[in-house]
């Protein structure tokens, strides 16, 4: 699948790029970052237009996010209709807590799950819809995040056009390093706050 998509990029160009980023926002297993890198390389070689590549990738991703969000929203309405009858008080509490977290951290969650923690993106879309995050707010942060995602990968493909295998490797290592770093920082802070006061200064 991945080889076929890359093979078809020169032939199908922008529509295929649109379809790839669209599909990746719905958790379908497509190599969206590799395709954007290759498209960036084709921009550098003069095979594809820069603005077209950026717009196709960006609109594909935005459309995919919106579909995920509204599917979540639709599912939630049906779930809500049913939950009144079958489930008890607990599910309501869990839902309220999830909503509270979304209220507090939703913006950053949506933004960072576009590009830094991109494997989580599709699920965040559905969750944001299901928890009824305000559509405009979701769209704003999703679009900003996708701009970073597309600009980073297309830009990297253009900059490292002579070798996109290298570009792909650097991108993978950087996102791995950054996401593990943020996770370590968060966990470290959590642990630090739980230390008895007398121990805090020593560390």
């Amino acid at each position: 699948m991945s080889a076929w998509l890359l093979q078809s990029l020169a032939t199908w160009g922008l529509p295929l790029l649109f379809a790839t980023t669209f599909a990746s926002c719905l958790a379908l297993p497509v190599p969206a970052s590799l395709m954007m890198l290759a498209a960036g390389a084709f921009v550098a070689s003069g095979d594809l237009p820069a603005s077209g590549v950026c717009l196709a990738a960006l609109f594909g991703a935005i459309a995919g996010d919106q579909l995920g969000y509204w599917l979540g929203r639709l599912g939630q309405t049906q779930l809500h209709g049913r939950s009144g009858k079958s489930s008890g008080k607990n599910s309501g509490t869990a839902l309220r807590r999830a909503r509270a977290i979304l209220q507090k951290r939703g913006d950053m969650g949506v933004f960072f799950s576009r590009w830094l923690f991109s494997p989580l993106g599709p699920y965040v879309n559905i969750a944001a819809g299901a928890l009824a995050m305000a559509p405009l707010r979701f769209t704003l942060w999703a679009v900003l995040g996708e701009i970073v995602w597309v600009a980073a990968y297309v830009g990297l493909g253009m900059g490292f056009a002579s070798n996109i295998t290298l570009a792909a490797e650097l991108a993978q290592d950087t996102t791995g390093l950054l996401s593990a770093g943020i996770l370590a920082l968060g966990l470290g802070a959590w642990l630090y706050r739980r230390l008895p006061r007398m121990m805090r200064r020593v560390g």
Partner: protein, 117 residues
């Protein structure tokens, strides 16, 4: 320091383990990043070997050779789409794609040798 670790180990073991795993993952990607920079800084590895998905222009760009010379070496048949891939060209020329790629690689090596001298 030992006291701190002992405390966390006793009261927050899962989080501590998760924290240490995150650190290990950081080290892993950090080393991989350094290795990539080291490996690719070697000029021998700089250019990307021709592959079926590439266009002639992309190959020319990657190897920094004139596009006309790549086009000539490939003997691109008439009537192909606007951005033929090496796969398309091999098919139109009735050649196995591997053969075309090997021929192109030889041409690129020769061209680069010529450009450098």
């Amino acid at each position: 320091m030992r006291q701190i670790i002992a405390h966390l180990w006793q009261f927050h073991r899962p989080t501590l383990l998760l924290f240490l795993s995150a650190l290990a993952v950081m080290v892993f990607f950090g080393l991989r990043f350094l290795w990539a920079v080291f490996y690719w800084s070697n000029p021998v590895h700089l250019h990307q070997p021709p592959a079926a998905w590439m266009t002639p222009r992309y190959v020319a760009h990657s190897w920094q050779v004139p596009p006309q010379q790549v086009a000539e070496a490939l003997q691109i048949p008439a009537g192909l789409p606007a951005r033929p891939t090496l796969q398309d060209i091999a098919k139109a020329r009735d050649l196995p794609v591997d053969v075309l790629l090997a021929q192109l690689q030889a041409t690129l090596n020769a061209l680069q040798g010529g450009l450098e001298n």
